[in-house]
């Protein structure tokens, strides 16, 4: 009796997990290269005369046993691409240029609005929603990882799946 109950609960838990992972996999984009994986790169659409843009990446994961080091980025769409961090100190926002970023073994970094972002300066054309562009992440020793950045409309928020649906109807 007890064993049966145990068994059914287990099945229930397993199916729930499977269900959740299927849901979260819809629309998720993963780019894997050697020991690193980058998921869901995106940027906000910009207006026509915009000179700058920001790229966010939901997660960059290092599944290796050694630390990896990001030394830079490049994209054809902009003249200058820099890693930035928006820091709020004494109620004042400041964008700081970061030269390189180290990700320890089995560690991840997130690039979210209001924090870490890849800043595009000198845009050659505006970022148009529902289109995409390639971006290269340069790793020391490992080499380059090329990812496709999806351009979302300005109201899109990475954290809210409900907004994501909103974009598509």
């Amino acid at each position: 009796m007890n064993q049966k109950l145990f068994f059914t609960t287990n099945i229930l838990i397993l199916t729930t997990i499977a269900f959740v992972s299927i849901i979260s996999d819809i629309g998720a984009k993963n780019y894997t290269y050697k020991q690193v994986n980058a998921s869901d790169p995106w940027a906000r659409a910009t207006s026509k005369l915009a000179k700058t843009g920001a790229v966010y990446i939901k997660n960059i994961h290092n599944k290796g046993k050694n630390a990896v080091k990001i030394t830079g980025f490049s994209a054809n769409i902009a003249k200058k691409v820099q890693l930035h961090n928006t820091v709020v100190k004494n109620e004042v926002a400041k964008m700081q240029h970061i030269e390189f970023l180290e990700i320890g073994p089995n560690k991840s970094v997130q690039f979210n609005p209001g924090g870490l972002h890849i800043m595009l300066m000198g845009l050659k054309r505006p970022l148009e929603k529902n289109s995409h562009f390639p971006l290269i992440i340069k790793f020391e020793k490992l080499g380059n990882l090329e990812i496709m950045v999806d351009i979302k409309n300005i109201g899109w928020s990475q954290k809210k799946p409900s907004n994501y649906k909103h974009v598509h109807h």
Partner: protein
């Protein structure tokens, strides 16, 4: 017995006096500050001068930023758009305002273009560096250029992250910084109720 009554009376008179002094000095201090806010000349994206008087019965929600900013500024303005959609979708109470503190690069045409991408109408303003300095100072905000090379056109601007709620009479209060629309909506409602009770209080104090 008489002594006690006298001392109570003295205490009462003294507290009434100090309360009155506080009342009046506070009244004048605020008046002086809002006068400065009236004096700063700002203009909109069509080049027309703008004054806080034109808010009339609405409460202005001001953000100081610059269009070259692709992260903090659109994130904040987008949070404001969603927050206002929730609490004031017809825009009867609030007027969202973006003031560019980078007049050197942000010409009216560029500000207009920048604001056109948001899902709500945001009033775009800027001014001379002198007027902007005076306006931000008197409202309690700040900004500064972060430019190592004077030739560098890709310079950044550090600026206050929070919004300010202002009345047409020049009473302004900072809205605590919140990085998501739900919490921002709540903060706006809180500051609005403080603004409302303050303006009732001012009506009484204007008798003095």
């Amino acid at each position: 017995m008489k002594k006690i009554i006298y001392s109570i009376l003295i205490i009462l008179v003294f507290s009434a006096l100090s309360f009155g002094v506080f009342f009046i000095s506070d009244h004048y201090a605020q008046k002086w500050q809002s006068n400065k806010l009236f004096k700063a000349k700002l203009y909109d994206v069509n080049g027309k001068t703008w004054s806080i008087k034109s808010l009339k019965d609405k409460l202005g929600i001001i953000y100081f930023g610059y269009t070259f900013c692709p992260d903090a500024c659109p994130t904040a303005l987008n949070n404001l758009t969603i927050a206002l959609e929730k609490i004031d979708s017809k825009k009867l109470q609030f007027e969202p305002i973006f003031i560019s503190v980078d007049p050197n690069r942000d010409k009216p045409k560029i500000i207009k273009d920048y604001l056109s991408s948001f899902d709500t109408i945001i009033l775009g303003l800027t001014g001379t560096d002198r007027d902007l300095k005076s306006f931000t100072f008197n409202i309690g905000a700040t900004y500064s250029l972060s430019r190592e090379d004077p030739e560098d056109e890709n310079y950044l601007v550090n600026h206050t992250v929070g919004f300010f709620m202002i009345t047409s009479k020049g009473a302004s209060l900072p809205i605590p910084y919140r990085n998501n629309p739900e919490d921002l909506a709540r903060a706006i409602e809180q500051i609005k109720s403080i603004q409302m009770s303050n303006s009732k209080f001012k009506k009484i104090s204007s008798i003095f």
